[in-house]
Symmetry: C2
DNA sequence: CTGAAAGCGCTTACAG
DNA sequence: CTGAAAGCGCTTACAG
């Protein structure tokens, strides 16, 4: 492009052919060097010359051309139903970390709580991803998927049969929470669930209800409500339900996520319900904000970063053709008790202190 | 993994050639139909036959092959320095919405507060993105970039010369905040900044300091500290700085983000500093949690979703070859006053209402 | 309106 | 150790 007529304004893409010409070798050799596959296949001085040419020209292997030739790209797609949950940001960070720089992380975002539909999935797959990570899926989505690419599931309890999974032991955390509330003397409780039909939420609820029942806490079906993972939505639902609950003697409400719990906290303040004296509140996630909410929110801590890391690690093994060994990974969860459930200073039972 | 010798287990990819064979046309015709470029170029009944074959076979245009032939992919890359900020989740949602389904959103994630380096950028560009969105960049990164693809900047005050930008009027919000604190009678203040060398933070700080000074609030250089956007880090920095500030008579601290402010709130509670009586605290972002923090956090509201939407819209125009018209877009910000700044130490205003 | 053919940039057997 | 060539799946002038 030294002095032609039609000067194309875009800085010409550097191709392997250009590098080859400069180094005095074939494009095949350039490819070998650029991909580090020189072992016993390229002469030392050719390696050096190609490297030099690559550096001088600023050559980068074209991702598209390479993907087409190899039949697979370097893209890892992460499908998740709720990017707006801060919990998720940590999961992403963990994935990114364990995946390393040779894979590009493509985040598939949909409406909050929704999963991509069959069409979207096909479009995603047409990118020939090197691997797939699916967070908090439901069975329906996985059936649509039928991915030919390596696939790892995150936070997908009960769906281990579809693919290797990294799970959180949310059931254990849920039980700890129920036990904690029982120990504090609560007898009547409510549950604010997430509307998404995601398995992890079903497990949280079931484990909580079971443990609560076994410890003498009543949570009648009418005291289980569902909202989207949104502070405002949770607040509104709670506002609507609270009068009935109060009449029924409810003194504790467990929420499927901290975000739901924030909504309850917010509405409780508006309604003048004292936390925790009149009502104990708790959630799942242990988001950073739960330490500064008013009052501090008792929450089941979920190791988000570790979840992402572990999943990325597993996927990487799969993409490198290694096997995983049977049995999924399950990460521990634990209850973090804060002011929102702490028995009033005056006595064990909230009622007793009145 | 049934048990055959070399049974290729992956369900064979459906290609344009297969569709062509089935419909009794050439692959060129299939391409035309699949891309909706039939106007006056394909006979009606051929269109129908191809469509039928596409449906029967479940054909999807291969993204890689298509990208290589076209010279550009359907990927839009979103580069952002801090995915862990919940603010950002809303930006993404806005982008996704305005971009529509024909573009795939690829999120480039790096260490919190860091930008991809030259190498990373090249790797990203080798994906031949249809467009680029860069959130809260610094000048250095943009100079590295030199993108041949359409590019739109988000929240990049002062960098409009690099590319079309959608900005937030953070300076106005910062001034409102300074005015609010001055009105409440504060004379000595501090500022907790973000360490990232991002322009938006420089603007926030400069506007705040200027307005504060003009209204008789002193913020000496020693009272400006910086931390990463992290509750714990902000808390630690505040803990370290507070004794000095207190001695100097500081009664208000403005923070570059709500996340920083949560850290201050948290540490203040630990240290027994009463908010807002002893210390007023405020941030930028107006995250959902700011309504439920203890106390509610005064914050400069930033329209995150609108920011993403507008940027996606602009980029889309660019990618479709339309022009943008001069002058970037700037979105309003506004101060939301809550409990964390509502009383004045000296008793000027709110104190009177006690 | 239609199809044969070139070409996008790369990788990988293959023959030397 | 090396390079010519086929091929990845598609799009787009081009000739008919």
């Amino acid at each position: 492009m030294d002095s032609g007529e039609q000067v194309p304004q875009r800085p010409r893409r550097v191709t392997a052919a250009m590098v080859a010409a400069r180094a005095g070798v074939s494009v095949a050799t350039v490819s070998l060097v650029a991909n580090g596959k020189t072992a016993g296949r390229v002469a030392k001085d050719n390696i050096a010359r190609v490297r030099e040419a690559i550096a001088e020209l600023g050559y980068v292997v074209d991702g598209i051309g390479s993907s087409l030739a190899k039949g697979v790209s370097s893209i890892v797609i992460l499908v998740a139903p709720d990017i707006s949950n801060p919990f998720f940001a940590k999961v992403i960070a963990g994935v990114r970390e364990s995946l390393g720089p040779q894979y590009q992380l493509l985040l598939s975002v949909t409406e909050a709580g929704e999963f991509p539909e069959a069409d979207d999935v096909r479009r995603l797959m047409s990118l020939r991803p090197a691997g797939l990570l699916v967070d908090a899926p439901n069975a329906g989505f996985l059936e649509d998927l039928a991915s030919p690419s390596p696939l790892v599931l995150l936070d997908a309890p009960g769906l281990e049969s579809y693919a290797p999974s990294v799970n959180l032991d949310v059931a254990s955390g849920a039980r700890q929470l129920a036990a904690h509330l029982a120990d504090a003397g609560h007898k009547e409780a409510a549950y604010v669930d997430s509307v998404t039909g995601t398995e992890t939420f079903a497990v949280r609820r079931a484990a909580f209800l079971e443990e609560a029942a076994s410890r003498g806490i009543t949570v009648s079906p009418k005291r289980i409500i569902s909202t989207t993972i949104d502070v405002g939505a949770a607040a509104a639902s709670f506002a609507w339900a609270w009068p009935d609950w109060q009449r029924a003697g409810v003194t504790a409400v467990a929420c499927a996520t901290d975000t739901h719990a924030y909504g309850v906290l917010q509405e409780a303040r508006v309604a003048g319900v004292r936390i925790p004296e009149e009502l104990a509140v708790a959630g799942f996630d242990d988001l950073p904000y739960s330490a500064t909410s008013n009052p501090g929110l008792t929450s089941v801590h979920l190791p988000a970063t570790a979840l992402g890391q572990k999943a990325g690690e597993q996927l990487r093994r799969l993409m490198e053709g290694k096997s995983l060994g049977p049995g999924g990974v399950t990460l521990e969860t634990s209850l973090v008790v804060r002011g929102s459930t702490k028995a009033s200073p005056a006595g064990h039972l909230p009622a007793a202190s009145h």
